[in-house]
Subunit: 291 residues, 4 copies
């Protein structure tokens, strides 16, 4: 339980509502900045300004999934004005107050360091990445079912990378009946793919393997679906590139060859915002309770 | 192989193209009615009129998935004019010529009988219904992922009926991580559900079971999601009704209660026309070869 | 609940103990014949002789899984003497008293008919057969793992028949990573196998298919693994024949060719007697409550 | 291919035969020490003594899975006398000759270092450990099916650790229908377990979780099933401890409490020696070809 713990929630979108609900369930005392447009009442939570919180003995400060911009501004979906976090403000939080954010950048890293606050980057955690792989895989499925005139069942599907996301995507497509081939240079990942009744191959064999593929899903954040590889791909094959921008596909070349290729970032928030919020809420609450 | 067999393909949509391709592969001699707008050339196939075919020693006549209208008209997606099948025309086909159609109606049944042609209704066959369950399940998944803000994984999903379609839908949702509860009055279907690690319950328990459901998928062609049942359902639950028109849901009452409910007929042709066509092609060719 | 219902349990093995326990849980009043050697006390149950029960207003009579011999004797694992059911005894049970047995024979069928008692043959029921398929599949797995020097994972496994048992065996081996090919002449079963990501073939192709098989499991109660078929099988392949005696394998020919083949009847009782008992208990109790 | 490569295979059991066969397939030139009792002829392989090989330009030396004893002796299942590897012998192998072994010890480590040979410990490789998890899981299944009177299906099964072996064991038992709960202190492993539709818990909750378990499988090489934990376990529960000797179970205490607990080392070689050999053969050949 978080009884008596004071927590500031500064900005965020629908996902942060799930976090707020979970914190209230655990009996935390909340200060909300940037949620005044919400119609809902939150019992045990107060709408405040940045300045009003400062007198409080804060246990933690929660920033949105998207973190903070270089200028200190924080995204506030449910407010007409942005919230701004300054170095000075942070310096005045208590010693053991920690900052939770989805992702971070150099500015936030440095501000936290100077203020001697520990900074928890939720999206970088292995457990969060694995839980998020679930809505990512379902979003991928959605795109593939929409964009093909065949079923996933019986299709030849290549998955590139068998890390935290690749593992879930591969298991999902295989469970639906696709013949999955996993491309990765990591021999342990190839062994795991084979243990899971999939085929596996090293990336140097990619040009040959794409020839008969119907669907190709990339999770490797490096240029793997290069022009050279795409030259071997059948035009009927569709590409869903999940890797962080700019993805691993030569999109210009794909377009030239008439291959449908899509960069699909941020699927969890798009496809299942409620689940995506709960994932963050569960992990954040657990960490706050252990803190 | 179908070498030397003469087959008339009369009308149809994209799915029939798959059938034509497969028949050509098996070396059949084809007469096509209602495909003249197609840009593609078919080797071994001739575009003809109904009358032109009559002189031929036909092995079989293939009608579209949708069969024939009461007035003898046949749907022709790739032609500007409909094709018409008359009793007189049928009477003049050879003795052992058989008619393949997706579905039939009283008129077609009677015309075939009078003409002493055997009539094969592909969509009524168990094997075709089971193969078609695959694109149906994928289409259902598409609708559910689109219409919810949670993941299928971890959701509580009720499937009503564990027949040819229900079995596939239940396995698909379970494989994706949903907690599936199968409602059916058939005790063997309940046993099968439990063997597949799902929960099962008789339909009289439906009012109680829907209370905690996130997703409800119906395959029973009878009024099961009645007003009485819907009164117990949480408004967050979504309904996808797959049963043939008018479905098994009281849609008016659902709307009143703010429950999102969708009747979703004809998913295979919408979601995966190419696969749907291949399913028909595979079974039709096998039957033609055995004929 | 079975409060106030009087039930006679006549003979049986460890499985019947599960039935007794479940009946006591449901508050039935029990009369036990043939269990006096058991060390356990059963609350609400009385050890009696056949004659002593006759005065009672019996709701049902439960015979063992093995039913009754031609001479009226009933197997009693937990007694030093057999129990005997006579026509005269049966005639004196109340009108609506029903008889539950695992399997039956002509004698029992006729005796029940004459006594105007309804006779429920539990093992013939679809639901019981499907639940029993679970321990049957696990027993088959045990035999196969014991008798091979390779893993089931990656093996080529042929399953003959995709009925109640074949379905579970096929799913089990496939889930463990075997490449399963289902042989059956039923086109709906072939479609279901393919829907479940297995291969399927008609039995006429069996001679060709066995050539590369590592494991072959038969569930068809008919001579399918004939000398002609076995002549094509590699000697490394092992056969587990689950079909009721005499099985579907030419065991003499198999031995001659050095192929290891095993007839494996009654696996549920051998491999998981407790589960096997619970299956009967669950279904019997449900039927008794509905009676 | 390994054409022209000279390789010495010194000792080993049935698994090494698979390695030899694979090497011959890849056209290597082999020198075998310790295989003279084998009835089989190997084309392209010569039976020799340690001394006879020394003149050869060896590409690699293959030791058995069990490696080498402190005194240099190497296990030779197919010979009447052991083979002995000395420092002097090793020193005289060519510069780029590498040594392959299953496991190593301090003596072998040092001898290889002094001789400036690279030493490849196959069983320590992630890929080999993952492939070996397959026969390990099947062996575990065998033990569990043999030792319980219930089915794995429907059982409550605890798996401790979700590493290379735990992952496969957990997936196997879950696929068979067990309700799997994974105990691990690694939050990423807990996330993966939940993604795979299992339950997960930290080890501090073990005393509470074991109370309702039917089956408990340990893969953690540390004392986890302590007396304190076992005190909460139901006596019906069985324990299979896969962790390397001495396992993670207080076996003395388990015995006192009447809990059946088994330390089960070396399952791959026992349960599926052929597959276990092929795993080593595949990886060794790949590495030799890349060398
Ligand atoms: N689109 C979305 O909605 C969404 C959602 C979540 C994540 N993502 C993105 O998806 C990507 C994968 O995330 P993840 O959590 O699965 O990462 P991860 O666990 O680190 O896995 C990455 C995979 O790529 C391989 N890889 C990395 N760099 C490589 C290189 N230079 N060459 C070859 N292989 C390489 C890794 O192999 P090794 O293990 O051997 O390095 C591993 O197989 C990231 O870019 C992430 O931002 C997107
Ligand atoms: N939306 C689409 O794209 C699509 C695609 C394919 C099929 N369909 C439709 O889906 C429905 C199911 O098709 P199917 O092939 O699965 O049929 P099916 O194999 O006959 O299965 C029907 C299921 O409904 C149960 N049922 C039937 N009548 C019932 C009643 N009056 N009361 C209670 N249960 C009843 C059956 O139980 P018993 O076995 O005990 O009768 C069985 O569980 C049909 O209406 C079909 O036209 C729709
Ligand atoms: N060993 C054990 O411990 C154990 C346990 C349970 C059951 N069994 C035995 O296993 C066998 C199968 O039981 P089940 O419940 O699965 O039966 P089932 O549901 O009737 O299935 C039988 C299968 O065999 C096929 N078949 C039957 N007769 C055939 C024939 N003459 N030619 C070709 N195919 C034929 C059926 O195809 P169709 O559907 O097209 O007829 C179906 O695929 C039975 O003999 C049963 O006694 C053994
Ligand atoms: N019986 C057999 O036939 C057989 C076959 C193969 C392997 N094995 C043995 O099985 C064991 C597991 O092998 P593996 O390849 O799966 O190893 P692994 O990949 O390293 O996994 C070990 C698991 O144990 C956890 N763990 C390790 N030390 C721990 C500690 N002190 N406290 C809590 N958790 C701890 C690990 O968690 P972290 O990842 O967080 O450390 C991980 O979950 C080894 O002892 C191996 O020798 C036996």
């Amino acid at each position: 339980m978080l009884t008596g713990k004071k927590i500031a929630v500064i900005g965020g979108d629908a996902r942060q509502i799930e976090v707020i609900d979970r914190l209230i369930q655990r009996d935390a005392t909340l200060f909300l900045v940037g949620f005044e447009k919400l119609q809902r009442q939150f019992i045990g939570a107060k709408h405040v300004t940045m300045e009003e919180i400062l007198g409080e003995d804060l246990h933690a400060v929660l920033l949105p999934v998207s973190g903070m911009q270089e200028n200190g501004e924080v995204e506030t979906t449910f407010s007409s004005k942005p919230a701004v976090v300054t170095q000075e403000w942070l310096n005045r939080t208590p010693k053991d107050c920690s900052i939770y954010t989805g992702i971070s950048n150099k500015t936030l890293d440095e501000m936290a360091k100077k203020a001697e606050c520990s900074l928890i980057k939720l999206l970088e955690r292995d457990d969060v990445a694995i839980y998020n792989a679930i809505p990512t895989a379902e979003g991928t499925l959605l795109l593939v079912i929409q964009d093909t005139d065949i079923t996933v069942h019986g299709s030849e599907t290549i998955i590139l990378g068998l890390g935290r996301v690749g593992m879930t995507v591969a298991r999902t497509f295989s469970a639906l009946g696709a013949y999955v081939k996993v491309g990765t240079d990591n021999s342990a990942e190839r062994a795991r793919a084979e243990e899971m009744k999939m085929k596996a191959f090293p990336l140097k064999e990619l040009p040959e393997k794409v020839q008969s593929a119907d669907i190709c899903i990339n999770t490797i954040p490096a240029p793997v679906l290069t022009g050279h590889v795409l030259a071997h791909m059948a035009p009927r094959c569709i590409i869903v590139d999940l890797a962080s921008k700019p993805g691993g596909t030569d999109f210009t070349y794909a377009k030239k060859r008439g291959i449908r290729a899509k960069l699909a970032p941020g699927l969890p928030g798009l496809v299942a915002p409620k689940t995506a919020g709960r994932i963050l809420a569960d992990v954040a609450v657990r960490l706050l309770e252990e803190q």
